[in-house]
Symmetry: C2
Subunit: 157 residues, 2 copies
């Protein structure tokens, strides 16, 4: 498999928040985000909680206007920051059970792979750093134009 869909959900949530914040600057409940992403509110809250720890979103716990909103302008949040906030595990896994250390190759393969895996993950993150949530909003709106016939009850679906 691959990078978990948690990352996709995080990006979707942030993109949705950025889009909704264009009209009014308020907090939005996890139910509404979950509705757009088509998942459970608890799952959304778990992920947004991680984004809040990374200071990418602000949270309002109680009261009538409780919910979430971006902590910064969408132009100032890169996909790389979101990745760091949501994904903790390294991109490449090493051996489940360590290699045989009595073997010449087995002794050196892990540090050798560690270097290469590190460079590769860095290249991936460099690419993610070149896109922002604002870019994602624009791109999503451009791609969403086609199927307009299904739009019915507003942007939050």
């Amino acid at each position: 498999m691959a990078v978990v869909s948690r990352y996709t959900v995080a990006l979707h949530a942030l993109t949705w928040l950025a889009y909704m914040s264009r009209d009014k600057d308020e907090f939005f409940a996890s139910d509404r985000i979950a509705n757009s992403v088509n998942t459970s509110p608890v799952f959304i809250r778990r992920i947004l909680g991680q984004l809040a720890k990374a200071r990418l979103v602000s949270v309002q716990h109680g009261g009538t206007g409780a919910g979430w909103k971006l902590a910064r302008a969408a132009e100032a949040i890169t996909l790389h920051e979101v990745y760091e906030a949501v994904v903790q595990t390294p991109l490449f896994e090493l051996h489940h059970s360590g290699p045989n250390l009595r073997c010449q190759i087995g002794r050196g393969i892990q540090p050798a792979l560690g270097e290469i895996y590190g460079e590769t993950e860095a290249a991936m993150k460099r690419q993610l750093g070149s896109t922002t949530i604002a870019d994602l909003v624009d791109s999503s709106l451009a791609h969403g134009e086609d199927g307009k016939e299904q739009a019915s009850d507003g942007p939050q679906g």
Copy 2:
């Protein structure tokens, strides 16, 4: 989690085969490779079978000298090729259950992410393409120098 350890095992196996082939050009059994990687021969055979389909290794099915060897020089096998041979799933997962298509963002987010994910995976593969199995052999040997005291019963240990 991340890219499965299958990829690490594939690289380890190829590196080991490249190292062993420096002395004699013969086929090596999956048992010996499994011993260095510290896993089961069946798992090794599953992975080497994929590498054989991609024409990266040759296989000898029966007879006394049955086993595996590199199909090309180690200098001519890039880590990108190994990745393509072993990993079929995309690097990033999209929504488990598709997003809400009645939402403006939900309608456009998947194609938008598809573009970005494609570019990111391409950047990762570009980086992997800059390293060969021969590089891995050299790097492994350099890193393995330190713990020489454990070397006892030969390189396949």
